[in-house]
């Protein structure tokens, strides 16, 4: 057994043991995740040197190259970290036994998906992942929160829909070319290739959560616990979806051979960035807000990959990694807050920074990272994407200003919304009931703190560590050296600036915060009304003349693909039911009815009067005579 099988099978077995044996249950899960991580590292290290392929059962074909090696590593890492988090977080969860098992399975199968070396293997693992996701989402129906069932149905509908299209696309390739491995660079110039490319991208979009297939993420965020959100939509599905998009765009196919498809990706990316972030801006719930950001960030990756410019692609890939890091960190920290407060409404929270310093720090770093504040990693990858977009002009693609604009605007609005979020949760007035809140345990804060640290690390040491070590080697391009950005230098400068600011704070005029009573209309504002949360920050935006309509639509679900999906299919259903079924029923009932009526009429022939009978009989003989003699 090589590392490939062990990587996948060991978590499955250990998870199953944990599922069966109540004794040492958590240790089994933990061991499974650890072993998974261990083998992931091994495979990662192997993949640095050579490309390995392995066939199992003559059907599963695994292969690892530098790209899949590094994605594998991170999937495994996230599995481990979030498992540690959730073992504590979901300690009192009713069905945790199954939950952890499926969680571990998702991690293992996610690794398998990345390792898939040909089309069939990919289909199988991708599908198994869907089934596991639906199994784990099945738990939310038991959640006390409302809407669990709907969220389950919606997310599985969208994911299943896109997966079926993905299977169709892959099947089309399978039929046309046989069972392909992924390093072929097929030109996108014939119908089959283009069609299957589009179908597969739909699968990727739904998984990663790009508009218009994003709506399952905000929906599931209403009911899912924080670690699930951190794991599935925020890290695993991002990694897998974007990984696959990259795979098919530049390995299986060559996106650069089709100008239109590139723009298709970039348009989707830009719209995703802007629309999702605008929706995020006005959310009143932490998880939902974060989930809209999850969607929004996908836009950068899709945009980056869509550029076809090496630096842009690298940016997209790097952004995928960064996003997974800081977004899971955000979800986890939000979860830590929820762990004590049992609250996710923005207006009910506030002022928690002193109580939960580590959580706050982690959250702040990640929030800054997602907003693209230098020198954090988010900035760096976004910047690479911008560069890629700008380089488009060299190719004569004059739509690039629009893409650039939306990307930058998205970044700004992200910052804006995170200002609101940070303020609402950690700063501002603290409600009374939260005064006794303490920092969470080690096993809860450690994963998020580690992720925050990674954000920081990948930001400061961006070039030596992730870019040179992970991103560039993974891509099959020669990437030109770029710009003058030196993250370390910038960091030092920023730190210097902060120190200067601190000095000024110490010695300057700003000494002490002065508390004053608040008056409204001449009256003293009551103590309990004094709490001011951030959820109203951007109400003006919502009421802006142009955006107002858009928000209305958005709130009504007009941008929700699920509604269209169900509407279309319901329409067809109605048609089938009311037309075809109705007609058939009608025909069969009419036949029965007709034979009843016909029988009723015919039986009147038997009148009971002998003369009538004789008359008919004599007519009969006359007719017979006429027929036979004439």
């Amino acid at each position: 057994m090589s590392s490939f099988e062990l990587l996948i099978i060991l978590p499955i077995i250990l998870g199953f043991l944990g599922y069966l044996i109540s004794f040492l249950r958590n240790e089994f899960y933990f061991l499974g995740a650890i072993l998974n991580f261990y083998y992931a590292i091994r495979i990662f290290l192997i993949s640095r040197k050579i490309e390995v392929t392995r066939k199992i059962f003559n059907i599963l074909n695994f292969s690892v190259d530098k790209l899949s090696g590094f994605v594998l590593l991170f999937i495994s890492l996230f599995t481990l970290l979030i498992l540690i988090y959730s073992i504590r977080y979901l300690k009192y969860y009713e069905k945790k036994k199954e939950y952890f098992y499926y969680f571990l399975l998702i991690g293992a199968i996610g690794c398998g998906t990345v390792l898939a070396g040909d089309i069939l293997t990919l289909i199988i693992f991708w599908g198994i992942l869907l089934s596991l996701i639906s199994l784990i989402f099945g738990f939310f129906q038991y959640a006390t929160k409302e809407g669990g069932e709907f969220a389950f149905v919606k997310s599985i509908s969208i994911l299943g829909f896109s997966d079926f299209l993905l299977i169709l696309g892959l099947g089309l390739l399978f039929i046309s070319y046989g069972n392909l491995s992924f390093n072929l660079k097929l030109p996108l110039n014939n119908t089959i290739n283009i069609l299957s490319f589009i179908l597969i991208t739909i699968g990727c979009f739904a998984k990663a959560g790009a508009i218009p297939l994003h709506s399952w993420i905000p929906e599931i965020s209403k009911v899912a616990p924080a670690p699930t959100m951190a794991f599935i939509p925020a890290s695993l599905d991002k990694l897998l979806g974007i990984y696959l998009l990259l795979r098919i765009s530049y390995y299986l196919f060559d996106l650069n051979t089709n100008f239109v498809l590139k723009n298709y990706l970039m348009i989707i990316g830009s719209i995703t960035i802007l629309a999702a972030v605008l929706m995020a801006l006005i959310q009143k719930e932490v998880m939902k807000l974060l989930s809209y950001h999850t969607v929004s960030q996908v836009g950068y990756m899709v945009l980056g990959i869509g550029t076809g410019i090496p630096i842009g692609i690298a940016g997209g890939l790097f952004h995928m990694l960064n996003n997974a890091i800081y977004k899971s960190c955000l979800f986890l920290t939000a979860g830590q807050v929820e762990f004590w407060t049992k609250e996710t409404k923005i207006e009910k929270l506030g002022g928690l920074a002193p109580n939960m310093p580590i959580t706050f720090t982690s959250f702040l770093i990640s929030a800054l990272a997602i907003s693209g504040i230098p020198p954090l990693n988010g900035f760096f990858s976004k910047w690479m994407v911008y560069q890629g977009v700008i380089y488009l002009y060299k190719e004569g693609n004059y739509l690039f200003p629009l893409y650039l604009l939306s990307a930058m605007l998205g970044s700004i609005l992200t910052l804006a919304s995170f200002l609101k979020l940070t303020h609402s949760i950690f700063l501002g007035e603290r409600p009374k009931e939260y005064e006794k809140i303490k920092e969470v345990n080690f096993s809860l804060w450690f994963p998020s703190a580690l992720l925050a640290f990674l954000s920081l690390l990948f930001g400061i040491l961006a070039i030596p560590l992730p870019i040179k070590g992970l991103i560039y080697p993974s891509l099959p391009f020669r990437i030109e050296e770029f710009g003058f950005w030196q993250p370390l230098l910038a960091f030092i400068l920023i730190v210097l600036g902060v120190i200067v600011g601190f000095v000024i704070y110490l010695f300057g005029a700003v000494k002490k915060v002065e508390r004053k009573d608040i008056f409204v209309g001449g009256e003293l504002l009551k103590e309990e009304e004094r709490h001011f949360s951030g959820d109203q920050f951007y109400s003006p935006i919502k009421e802006a003349p142009l955006l107002e309509k858009g928000y209305e639509f958005g709130e009504e679900g007009s941008f929700d693909f699920y509604n269209y999906l169900t509407a279309i299919f319901s329409g067809f259903s109605l048609l089938f039911k009311e037309v075809i079924d109705y007609i058939l029923e009608l025909i069969y009932h009419q036949i029965a009815y007709f034979s009843e009526i016909f029988g009723g009429l015919l039986r009147k022939i038997q009148s009971g009067i002998l003369s009538d009978y004789l008359f008919v009989i004599f007519i009969g003989i006359i007719i017979i005579l006429l027929i036979l003699i004439l």
Partner: protein
């Protein structure tokens, strides 16, 4: 095979003995008639094995009046077609007489019933084996008169009415047949059927010929109750006592109507599709009309036996479609349908007896509210109904195959479809009774009565076992030979006269 006259002589003997002996002990009539029908059954089964030894036809010259060189004497001819009919007659009359032992407890005049019953059997057997045209008429009348009397046996209002109407229409048929026989005699100066065939073969077929044919057809179509000559049948068959209904529906109309007609038109007049296609088309069209119209009427019937009576008309339509297509397969189908329908419809009519006795009525609506359960009769009825509707593995399935095959071979595709689709109608109206009368789960179970149960078991056994052995045994040994006898036409005359 010189026991051939026994087929008529035995029942006639019984019919004369019974009035005398039943004065001594009334139950003696039961014994005599059952012994006679059993003997007849044994004889007919024995003939099944004996006939092949004598070749295709056995001719019995009554009183040793040789038919050669001049066919003056009266003969019985016994070929494979007669064999088939005799077998069917005696199978069903055996079952019915067995059944009647208990059934007759409802009636007072036991010996009268048995006398009439045996007379009818004698007449029917006579029709099947006679080789003389006038004898044919006589036997038809013997069986017909006894059937008129038997229909009126209950002497209720409806019974008498049905009997009267039946008599008038039936006798018109009889007279028409007599007129036709007179005309035939005028034309040929002979009454021996084989001789008539030879004479007609030499002559051209003028209007008189066709006039005779029309008269015969008219008469026999009335006897076999094909649409539009069926009016007497629903009344008569629904009002007769149950075993008589079974006999009338099961064999009477087939022997007196279908058998006699097909014997005359195929064997005596030598008609076939080549020289008389319009004649056969007439039969075909009337057959289809019968199937459809009687089927739809049966669907709306509210009386147990009346429904079955209409079903008989519809089934006769199938037989006539088979005759009308007039090829080997379709006639095989028609003849096997005679067999299957005799057993099946006989069974169904017989079930009416105990049901009427238990519930006091045959109105389906009343029966559906009847409180007791009759599972045994229900199962028997349903099996018979399934057989009649042509559902395998029962006997009734095979006629359907051959009829449809005949239609396909005759390039009458629409007929094949009609035959197939309207067997659905058969199923529908027959199961109407199963659904409304017998499908109950609660209530006290009705106990079966001994001889009735035995006759049911006998018929069900036959339906099932003959269905199983149809293609392997029954078809090659009996029915296809009978079909050959029909299809070979005036070959019959040669075979008879060569003796």
């Amino acid at each position: 095979m010189n026991y051939l006259p026994l087929f008529t002589a035995l029942p006639l003997l019984g019919a004369f003995l019974i009035p005398l002996l039943s004065k001594i002990w009334e139950r003696l009539s039961d014994i005599i008639s059952n012994v006679i029908t059993t003997l007849l059954l044994i004889l007919s089964v024995y003939s099944l094995f004996l006939l092949p030894i004598f070749g295709k036809v056995y001719v019995y010259e009554i009183g040793k009046w040789a038919i050669k060189p001049i066919p003056l004497g009266i003969v019985f001819t016994f070929d494979n077609l007669s064999l088939l009919m005799v077998l069917v007659i005696n199978l069903l009359s055996f079952a019915c007489s067995l059944y009647s032992i208990t059934y007759l407890d409802n009636y007072t005049a036991r010996w009268k019933f048995w006398t009439l019953f045996l007379l009818m059997v004698a007449g029917l057997n006579g029709v099947a084996i006679t080789g003389d045209l006038f004898n044919l008429f006589v036997f038809i009348e013997i069986s017909a008169i006894s059937s008129y009397a038997l229909v009126a046996f209950g002497v209720e209002k409806e019974d008498l009415e049905a009997s009267f109407k039946y008599q008038i229409i039936g006798e018109i048929a009889g007279l028409t047949i007599l007129l036709a026989i007179a005309l035939i005699y005028a034309k040929t100066s002979t009454l021996n059927m084989a001789d008539i065939a030879n004479t007609f073969a030499k002559e051209s077929k003028g209007p008189l010929f066709w006039f005779i044919i029309s008269l015969l057809t008219f008469g026999f179509l009335i006897k076999s109750a094909l649409f539009p000559f069926h009016f007497w049948l629903p009344d008569a068959h629904s009002q007769a006592p149950a075993p008589i209904s079974a006999m009338l529906s099961g064999i009477f109309i087939k022997v007196v109507g279908v058998y006699a007609l097909s014997r005359l038109i195929f064997n005596i007049f030598g008609l076939n599709r080549l020289n008389a296609s319009h004649y056969f088309n007439l039969l075909l069209i009337l057959g289809i009309f019968s199937i459809v119209i009687a089927g739809f009427i049966a669907l709306k019937q509210e009386n147990y036996k009346r429904l079955l009576a209409y079903s008989t008309i519809s089934q006769v339509g199938y037989i006539f479609v088979g005759l009308g297509l007039a090829n080997f397969w379709s006639i095989t189908g028609a003849l096997s349908l005679i067999f299957a329908h005799a057993l099946g419809k006989g069974l169904l009519f017989l079930t009416a007896g105990p049901v009427e006795k238990e519930a006091g009525s045959l109105d389906i609506h009343l029966l559906s509210n009847f409180k007791k359960r009759m599972s045994f009769y229900g199962i028997v009825y349903t099996l018979g109904a399934l057989s009649l509707a042509g559902i395998p593995p029962f006997l009734g399935f095979f006629p359907k195959i051959f009829l449809i095959l005949g239609a396909i071979k005759g390039k009458r595709f629409e007929v094949a479809i009609i035959l197939g689709i309207f067997s659905l109608l058969t199923l529908a109206y027959l199961l109407k009774i199963t659904n409304k009368v017998f499908t109950k789960k609660e209530g006290e179970e009705v106990k079966g009565v001994s001889s009735i149960v035995i006759s049911f078991l006998f018929l069900v056994f036959l339906i099932f076992i003959l269905g199983l052995f149809y293609l392997n045994y029954l078809e090659p040994n009996l029915i296809s030979k009978a079909t050959e006898a029909v299809i070979s036409g005036v070959e019959y005359a040669r075979l008879v006269l060569i003796k």
